[in-house]
Symmetry: C2
Subunit: 261 residues, 2 copies
DNA sequence: AAGTGGTCTAGACCACTCG
DNA sequence: GAGTGGTCTAGACCACTTT
């Protein structure tokens, strides 16, 4: 057996040893967050390869001049992201990925935007209406009260992809049509200081009606992917209810699930 | 405007004061976890109502005889679940829910099982085959190598709902047909000591072929919801690849998204 | 100014895994 | 038995929100 003095670690830690983490105590960015970012970057760039052990937390904290809880907080945040796995008695290692990239739950931030295909949006309708029963229930307002209805047709490469119908509480947001066509609804909400917290989604399918087919440049009876979504801000109040239809021939939901331990 | 003097707290803390948390230091269950469970139960039963403040962490830790970090760990776990929201300078409050219940990412654990409709499963095929190119790519094995194919028809109330086709690395698991019909695939994996870590899913739609229609008791051309999924264990190795089709008339995916802060 | 959560420290002991 | 992560403590100072 090889000497353990500097070797058992040699197979796993050399990358780490040569990594220079630059921590700035003067920065307003928390130390654990600085460390987490630099670890993530190292994984991203392959400096830390899948399966590599990270070296124990005590050594790490000594080397970095941090306390162990701080180092743990950094590591834990990457475990939560699915980049690292901890095993008691073994160590912390980079997940044998396949995945890395699409870890964020997209589809809350406009689905097509994330697809990176330079989507175009045409606002078909943007006005106040009285809430119907289902809209009122979803938004938690009285039936018949004023809400904003927003209908958008989204295309990529000149071809329609989806028809989005959204309802928002009246006065929640300044829904400037030109800005809506230049960016996504969720981006506008964030800019307006609305912090999204959670959303409830139902994804189904059905065949296109004649009207829907005409709108989306499909044939009647073509398969459509449907989604209903209610989004809530961080106080738990509904900020948006939407009914979307997608051309199944041109779009599918693609996402990553992480299993909570 | 109402007086704010002594009211802001009076309306929020009484429920907590009367809560009796029973912490067992002899238990192998971590203290932070015991506390988190009891807080969750209190929220679940409405003892802590949406909007209620929790009282500051220092007081809580003193009252419970715990250190502040331990109390924070308990609270943080519920924040991660989306049950609580923290605001600096304000406090921690129960999220104005609407949601509470379906916070877990189901659809990893058998989708229909969770629906609570006493699903029935019929194993149509369960044997070894040579991996085709797409299956081999998904499972990370060589094309033509041995894998297990599993085809199941799932029904509720005597009506077919979905046709599930799965591929697994050969020898990963003892796929006993009777047990497969009595429980879900993921439950069998967990029992076998396989820890699921993440999954990549694509959800789409298409129209049923004649064969599919016959199998699912639909008409040709009916809308089907499709899902492809690759699941990974905690070392990042693929443990399952599946292609599923669902009758859109009888099934839809229903899930909750949490936005990471 | 007072109160809150956010961050950080420097230790301690335990439970688990592995050789 | 040696090494790892998991839990826990008792403090400290800071940034932010509200009065």
């Amino acid at each position: 057996m090889a000497k353990t003095g500097g070797y058992s670690r040699a197979a796993t830690a050399p990358a780490l040893g040569s990594l220079d983490f630059a921590l700035d105590r003067g920065s307003p960015v928390p130390l654990y967050y600085q460390l987490a970012q630099q670890l993530e970057a190292a994984i991203e760039h392959g400096v830390l390869a899948p399966g590599n052990l990270l070296g124990n937390e005590i050594d790490l904290s000594v080397r970095l001049g941090l306390s162990r809880p701080t180092v743990r907080q950094a590591i834990q945040s990457l475990v939560d992201k699915g980049l690292l796995v901890r095993r008691r008695g073994v160590g912390t290692q980079v997940v044998h990925s396949q995945v890395k990239r699409p870890l964020e739950l997209s589809s809350l931030y406009d689905d097509l935007e994330a697809a990176g295909q330079g989507p175009a949006t045409r606002v078909v309708r943007n006005e106040g209406v009285q809430a119907s029963a289902d809209v009122a229930a979803a938004l938690g307002v009285a039936e018949g009260s004023q809400v904003t209805i927003l209908e958008r047709l989204r295309s990529t490469h000149g071809q329609p992809v989806a028809f989005l119908c959204n309802y928002l509480p009246a006065g929640l947001l300044d829904l400037d049509t030109p800005r809506l066509e230049a960016t996504g609804l969720y981006r506008m909400m964030r800019t307006a200081g609305i912090t999204l917290h959670s959303a409830r989604q139902t994804v189904g399918a059905r065949c296109a009606t004649a009207d829907e087919a005409a709108l989306l440049d499909e044939q009647e009876g073509a398969a459509l992917l449907t989604m209903q979504r209610t989004a809530y801000d961080d106080t738990g109040r509904p900020v948006e209810y939407g009914t979307h239809i997608y051309r199944a021939s041109r779009y599918a939901f693609d996402f990553q699930l992480l299993v909570r331990p």
